[in-house]
Symmetry: C2
Subunit: 82 residues, 2 copies
Amino acid sequence: MKKKHPWLVDIGKNIRAIRESKGLSQEELAELVEIDRTYIGGIERGERNVASLNLIRIAIALNTEVGNLFPRLDMLPLISRY
Amino acid sequence: MKKKHPWLVDIGKNIRAIRESKGLSQEELAELVEIDRTYIGGIERGERNVASLNLIRIAIALNTEVGNLFPRLDMLPLISRY
DNA sequence: TTGTGACTTTAAGTCCGTC
DNA sequence: GGACGGACTTAAAGTCACA
């Protein structure tokens, strides 16, 4: 099991929640976004530090604003800086 | 001059606009975020495909939601998929 | 104060598989 | 349907000298 940054875990939870709300499997999302299915899994588990372009593509596939994939500023533990 | 993806250019513009609205130089932002000045420059010029953690750190430094750094879904030319 | 090219190191992202 | 691992290729992270 890989190391997980709390912020990435948040992002992963958000993506998973939205994906499931759309009734999509990881594999189906992977196909929409044209990203490897194991990578989608890794993102949702908070193990991957996804780059902007892929985040945007995921947001498009999920038909949601990119901002919805991120935790709100108030929710971030500012003490744990990176 | 490096190749620039339109979406990254949008992100760069947003970051630059917010940074300047705060009266910060690239160097000052770089120090806040603890990222190299030239890397910040590259992001603002749309030459870097920044990953989530750095985006969040930049958003924190600029005291703005991460979503504000991204273009809105409606603004994305959906035809040019990646 | 910022842009840019060249560069090394690290991690993103793919593809195979098993449980 | 999803978690997870290994091995791999590509791209991002990160730094520097100089314009």
